[in-house]
């Protein structure tokens, strides 16, 4: 279970959240600028909040009152952003193996193969990032993030370069793997269909705050109504 209460002020932006995600798969939905990606950066430990705490399964990752802040690589947390950020001078295999410095050569090779197979990119092992399409790069970035076997996976619109069918297939395979490994996942999206498709708990964010949380039909009821009305207007026009 992920529990967090954070407060951050950066210029005119104010992030203030206090909630816990118990579901194994949570979708954070909200418009651009709501603070979704910013929240993920704090959860991943890349930035330090002004005040607050983050705990995963009862273990403190950040606690400003107790001056605790585990470094990003020591939180068992992975973050995959929309921009794959693959290391351009390394092969795909070296990218995926970057976070496996503690494993011996044999186990590292096994893990790289397992991860690339999971994301359906085993044939890309010897390629370099500049030879990959946007979708392939996103698959490799996902494999790289999963390779150290995190406990918490943060996904920031990571499948934007994949077409609908490829994205759905990858998501289904990924969800099964994550369930088997007991990895809690948080997916950020501004697409309501993603939130409905996953059938997960949904947190609705607006202007730096979580304003609703629950199953999609409750948390996104207003959004659902907006989409239906918009579709209705489109049908009437035609």
């Amino acid at each position: 279970m992920l529990e967090f209460a954070l407060e951050v002020r950066r210029g005119s932006f104010h992030l203030q959240v206090d909630c816990h995600f118990a579901s194994e798969w949570t979708v954070i939905f909200g418009p651009s600028g709501a603070g979704k990606s910013t929240l993920l950066r704090y959860l991943a430990g890349l930035d330090l909040p002004d005040r607050g705490n983050i705990a995963l399964d009862g273990h403190a990752l950040t606690d400003s009152a107790r001056r605790i802040h585990l470094k990003p690589g020591h939180r068992k947390t992975a973050l995959v952003a929309q921009q794959p950020a693959l290391f351009p001078h390394m092969s795909v295999a070296a990218n995926v193996g970057y976070g496996l410095a503690g494993l011996n050569r044999g186990r590292r090779a096994e893990r790289i193969e397992e991860m690339l197979t999971l994301v359906d990119a085993a044939n890309l092992e010897h390629r370099h990032p500049h030879d990959l399409s946007g979708g392939e790069a996103q698959r490799v970035a996902l494999a790289r993030a999963l390779a150290p076997l995190p406990r918490l996976l943060l996904l920031d619109e990571p499948f934007s370069a994949l077409d609908g069918a490829a994205s759905d297939a990858l998501l289904a395979r990924l969800q099964a793997w994550l369930r088997g490994r007991n990895v809690q996942t948080i997916l950020v999206t501004h697409d309501a269909t993603d939130a409905y498709a996953s059938g997960a708990e949904v947190a609705l964010m607006r202007e730096g705050r979580v304003v609703a949380i629950g199953p999609p039909e409750i948390a996104l009821s207003a959004e659902r109504q907006r989409i239906i009305e918009r579709l209705g207007r489109g049908i009437e026009r035609n």
């Binding site: 890349l46 990003p72 690589g73 992975a78 950020a85 693959l86 290391f87 001078h89 970035a141």
Partner: protein, 222 residues
């Protein structure tokens, strides 16, 4: 031709460049990755030799390394001789004098590495040392080459610091630029012309090598 002065100059420039690279890579990485407000002071100090007249720097070093200060006395006790008016003293002076020529290109090169790559490495457990040697150094290798060449050439051509700190001792502190000064003072323009030509050729060849590399890279991206 004074081969002794040429050899001494090349030895001084090579040792200085090697020391500067060892010092400047972590220093530049700290300036790029660090978040402390005190780093602005450190960056200013690392840039200071760029704007300070070399004679001023040479004078302060001469005083600092002399017998009037605790540092100077300590170094003398440690080495068995004062650093001033010795080859070792020239190395210390050259490292300080050429520091900005190594740090500036490296800071620019390291800062040009996408922050998203650094974040990805941090998330995968890389410590600053690993980030520097697996990301910064390979991705900023042109900056590394520029830092090495500029440091080398700047040391080859230095005059004020060498004169103040080292004087003019053949085989110990007489570099090509000091030799050139002596030759002109003695109205030996033929020898001065040869010495100046060597300094000019060294600079042109090294800079042309850097810029041809940059042009090739720009061409391959076009």
């Amino acid at each position: 031709m004074d081969w002794q002065a040429l050899a001494l100059t090349l030895r001084l420039a090579t040792i200085t460049t090697a020391i500067l690279l060892v010092l400047s890579i972590p220093l530049s990485a700290l300036l790029v990755l660090g978040r402390s407000r005190w780093l602005a002071v450190l960056e200013a100090l690392a840039t200071l030799p760029l704007v300070l007249p070399p004679t001023v720097l040479g004078f302060f070093l001469l005083v600092l390394l002399g017998p009037r200060t605790a540092i100077g006395r300590g170094v003398t006790a440690l080495l068995g001789h004062p650093l001033a008016f010795s080859f070792s003293g020239l190395v210390v002076g050259s490292v300080i004098y050429s520091l900005p020529f190594a740090v500036q290109p490296l800071v620019a090169g390291f800062a040009a590495v996408e922050p998203a790559l650094v974040d990805a490495a941090r998330l995968l457990g890389a410590n600053p040392f690993r980030i520097v040697f697996t990301l910064f150094v390979p991705l900023a290798r042109r900056s590394l080459l520029a830092a090495a060449v500029l440091s080398f050439l700047h040391t080859v051509g230095e005059f004020g610091v060498v004169l103040m700190l080292g004087g003019d001792i053949p085989g110990a502190t007489r570099t090509l630029s000091i030799l050139l000064y002596n030759q002109v003072e003695n109205f030996d323009y033929a020898s001065a012309n040869r010495t100046a030509s060597i300094l000019l050729t060294l600079s042109v060849v090294a800079l042309a090598a850097i810029y041809s590399g940059n042009r090739k890279r720009r061409g391959s991206h076009a």
